[in-house]
Every structure is written in C-alpha cells, then in structure tokens.
C-alpha cells in the first residue's frame, strides 16, 4: 500500500497508526478514514494522504512528512519504506519488521525499541535508540542504521541491540549504556560513554575521552569483524583496513561499573 501526502499538515501530525502492523487487513477506504491527531484536532488520515493499493505487509509513505511524528510506533512486523523527511519518534517502541527512510528523521528514533530494524538513509536527530527520560534503561533490542549523522545521546541507556551511524555522532554517545553496541564510522562528539556500565562504543576516528575512561591497549578485536561485515552487508561503506585494524581500547566509565569499552580505530 502506498500513502502519498497531498496536503502537508500545518502543525504536527501524530500518526502512530502509520505502520504495516496497524494497517494490516485494511482497505484503502478504511485507511483513509483512520483518525490521526493534527495538533489538538482529530482528523481523518485521508485529509492528508491519498491511499493507494492493497496492504500486504509492505507500506510506502511519500511526501512532505516533516511534521509527521510517531511513524511506525509499536510496529511489530512488515516493511515500511518512507520517502521524505520525518519528524520525531520514528519507530519508537518498535518490536519487529523493518523501516527504511530515505530522508532525515528528527529526535528519538527508535526510543524504547525492542526489535526490528530502522534504516535511515539521511541524518537523524538526538537520542537515536535512547531510553526515555527518567528510565534506567532504553533500547532492549533491534537495530538502527543511520547512513548520515546523528546528534547527541545515541544509544543512551541502551541495554541490547545495535546502533550504527555512518557519519558523525554528537555528544554523550552511549551515555548510561547498560550493554549493547554503538558504532560510529565518523567522528563522535565529546563525553562518549559517560556513566556507561557495560557495552561497546566503537568509532573509526580518534575521540576525546572523558578522563574517567582508562586506556588499556591497542589490539585487534576479532568480534568487531562480525559487526563490520554485517554493516557492509546492510550497505555501509566499510574500509578493509578497519577489519584488520588495530583499536585503542578504553575502559569505563570508572564512575560506574567500569566494564564498558570504547574502541577507537588507529590508522
């Protein structure tokens, strides 16, 4: 099924029903009649989108989605392909299926995610794959791939799963991490891994570490080959040198459990 924006919303449109899971089994007319929240008004989805085709596990969205929030919330299965920039909370609470976005996403991509995958072929905002405010742990599983850059707090309080950023990340990458893996192929901002308990933050560029991380050694982590190969398989450009390369291992955060690591590629 394909949904195309014919009238862009004037204020934020909360459309958590936009997922293959929510639309499963619905006809064009039924989908058009679904209620979305345009600011403080309830309006029919058809007021903004034209709906075409049958729903068979694959949903396509296209158009000016820059004010559309919560796309793919709680998605459990199927595939969703999005052309255009989207607002916040893409794929939040997602448990399965796959989202591919050709465009940029704003903050909170995949917050509280437990499974499935999100691929963003543009840039993402803050808190990619991060836990919600106040919570002790965030992402419990699943994969988020951002081809471009993301901003602060990528993988914050993550417990399981993979966040991979093709470009640069902002500050506090892997903040409060409980476990899991964050890979940044570009450069990271400052204060990577603050308060992390366990887990790995990996970057292909040098980074300024907070002093509560201790340098251990430079070595060749075998496990990383699995990740880099996997990223190559899903379409990231992986330099062969990274596969065989040496990485600085920084242990931290000493303020917490001190069992996390930051691995920095040494060219």
């Amino acid at each position: 099924m394909k949904l195309t924006v014919h009238t862009p919303p004037e204020v934020p449109l909360e459309a958590e029903i936009l997922s293959p899971t929510s639309l499963a089994g619905l006809s064009e007319a039924e989908v058009s009649a679904l209620i979305v929240h345009h600011g403080n008004r309830k309006e029919a989805l058809g007021e903004f989108f034209s709906v075409n085709g049958k729903m068979n596990g694959r949903l396509e969205l296209e158009g000016d989605l820059s004010f559309v929030k919560l796309i793919g919330q709680g998605m459990a299965d199927g595939e969703m392909f999005i052309e255009g920039n989207v607002s916040g909370h893409l794929g939040c609470g997602m448990s399965g299926g796959r989202i591919v976005l050709n465009g940029d996403a704003q903050d909170w991509v995949g917050e509280d995610m437990t499974g499935g995958s999100i691929t963003i072929n543009g840039n993402a905002g803050h808190m990619v794959g991060s836990g919600v405010r106040g919570a002790e742990q965030g992402m419990l599983g699943g994969e988020i791939f951002v081809r471009g850059n993301c901003k602060n707090e990528a993988g914050g309080a993550m417990r399981r799963g993979l966040v991979a950023i093709g470009g640069n990340s902002g500050d506090f990458t892997g903040l409060n991490m409980v476990a899991g893996t964050v890979i940044v192929l570009g450069e990271m901002g400052i204060r990577t891994g603050s308060n992390m308990k366990r887990g790995s933050v990996i970057s292909m560029n040098p980074a300024r570490m907070i002093p509560s991380f201790s340098y251990s050694c430079t070595y060749q982590p075998i496990f990383l080959r699995f990740y880099l190969n996997y990223l190559r398989d899903v379409g990231f450009e992986i330099d062969d040198a990274w596969l065989n390369g040496s990485y600085q291992r920084w242990c931290g955060d000493a303020i917490s459990l001190n069992k996390g690591e930051v691995l920095l590629y040494q060219s």
């Binding site: 366990r198 496990f223 699995f226």
Partner: protein
C-alpha cells in the same frame, strides 16, 4: 563379490546413533588454528575410554570462516547431547582458549538442540567477560593475556552416526597397512565425517563385554589372527594374517556410507593381492541403529 582380487563380504557395518558438534577454530595463521584443532581432538579415539570421539574434518580458508581468518573444522561425537556439550566445554576450555590467537565458533546451524559452551566458559573472565549479540548470534569475549578469546555462546548438537567401520583382512602386514592407510587418506577428504583413530586406523578392534567385570569391551578375538587356533570362534580365513579397521563417525548415515564406499575402492587399489578381504563389524544387527551393507555401496 570380488573387486579385483579382494573379496567383499556380504555383510554390513553396524553403526550407532551418536550426537555430534562441529566447531570451527580460527586463528591468526593456519599453524595456530591447526595447533588448537590437534589439541582439542587429542585423546578422543573412542567413547569407551575418552568419553568422546573427535577429529579434524577439514581445514578452512579465510573465506570459509566466520571471522575470515584461517580455520579448522572439527567434529566431536559422544553418546548424548549432554555428553557432547560437556566435552566441548572441557576441551575448548583447555585446548582452544589456551591457544594463541584462536577463536571458536559453532559449525552447525539450525540444529534442534544447542548446548551452552561460551556461556559456561565465560566465567573464566572473572566478571570481565562481555557478550555481544549480533543478528541472533551471541558471542562471548573472554579477556586473556594476549587479547580476548571469542567464542559462540552455544553450539549446535545434532544426531549423528558413529561406529561406521571397515575391516581390512590382509595376507600380511605391509599390504594390509598400505590398504588401510590409503583408505583412510581417501576418506579424510570427505566432508561430515572423521576417523577418530590414530591416523584413522585401529588395530585393537573390540567386541562388547569382557570376562573382566570392570571392562565394557575387550579385544575382538574373532578377528585376532594370533588366536585363530585358540579362540572359540574365528572370522578369519587361513590366509588372513593381519586385520586393520577404520572407524568412521559422521554427521549422517549417507556421509558414513560414502566414506566407506570410497575407502573400499582406495583400499583395493593400494592393497592389491595382499588384501584378501574387506568386511565390516557388526553385532548381528541387534545393537546398532544403522546397518550399512557393503555390497549395496559397491553396486553401480
């Protein structure tokens, strides 16, 4: 039935249900992968005394291994899933984790049964171990003095076939040994099987039971040429003065059978006139689950 001058007895090898695992050992170089593989398969000729049977299946090129390093594939057999699992824990812990630069991966996908191996060995990390889960694969990273030892959390264990065998009955030692050696060499090239005995060949074939209570098996007197005159029953003809056996464990019956087929051809070629007969061991078909007939293998 005869191939060239060698008689093929119309009998069958009686093989048993076993459980098996395949482990992939990788390392910085062929040398270290093989060192670990040899060690991990050491002293694993027979479940009777070693609690498992293990052997090297093949060497692997970097393209064939999960981490793209040189590797060796090893098969390990025992009588139960738990038996295999426990041996893996012991042997990988002692022979792979110890060996420089190695990593150790499960080589059997999609098995119904899995056994926690890395999950148990991780405790060696004394709290510093860490796990990684990627695409449903969970691995443990155990810190060691040289870096870290990477091992899969669990290993697949599948039903397998043990005790496939061929008996080479020769007129004298040298041609019998030639025949057996050639057969073993040919068989070792095949996938999914191992020959657990030294060099693939065993001379101390056994029968179940013993006059001594403590022993579960004892020498196969019916095939001992030196006892032809004293044993109550002998299987040897007058000119059969030397017997060697090849034991084959495999992941499935057809792999074992194929190995036996190729083994027989190779033996006949190499043994020449000296190889009088090829037969196989069985217990009348009452003990094993598989009966691999020799004649059917050679018909086509």
């Amino acid at each position: 039935m005869k191939i060239r001058s060698t008689e093929i007895t119309d009998t069958f090898a009686e093989a048993f249900k076993m459980s098996a695992a395949r482990i992939i050992i990788t390392a910085e170089s062929d040398y270290w992968a093989m060192a670990a593989a040899q060690s991990v398969t050491g002293f694993a000729t027979s479940v009777i005394g070693c609690r498992c049977e293990a052997g090297i299946e093949k060497t692997l090129s970097p393209k064939e291994t999960p981490d793209q390093r040189p590797g060796v594939s090893v098969l390990l057999f025992a009588n139960s899933t738990k038996g295999v699992g426990n041996r893996l824990v012991e042997r990988i812990g002692q022979s792979v984790m110890t060996c420089p630069t190695t990593a150790c991966f499960n080589g059997l996908d999609g098995t119904e049964e899995k056994f926690s191996v890395g999950e148990k060995l991780r405790y060696f990390g004394d709290g510093y171990q860490g796990s990684k889960v990627l695409n449903d694969r969970k691995m443990w990273r155990i810190p060691v003095m040289e870096g870290e030892f990477l091992i899969d959390d669990s290993f697949g264990i599948q039903a397998a076939v043990g005790g496939g065998n061929l008996l080479f009955l020769g007129k004298e030692l040298s041609s019998t040994l030639q025949a057996a050696t050639a057969a073993a060499e040919a068989m070792r090239k095949l996938p999914n099987i191992i020959l657990p005995m030294p060099g693939g060949v065993v001379r101390s074939g056994s029968k179940p039971g013993s006059r001594y209570k403590a022993l579960p098996a004892s020498t196969n007197d019916a095939f001992c040429p030196t006892l032809r005159g004293s044993a109550p029953k002998t299987e040897l003809g007058e000119d059969e003065a030397c017997v060697l056996e090849i034991v084959i464990d495999g992941l499935d019956e057809s792999s074992v059978a194929e190995a036996m087929r190729q083994g027989m051809h190779a033996a006949v070629e190499a043994g020449g006139e000296g190889l009088a007969r090829i037969t196989a061991g069985n217990y009348g078909g009452n003990l094993g689950q598989y009966k691999i007939g020799l004649h059917p293998l050679l018909q086509d």
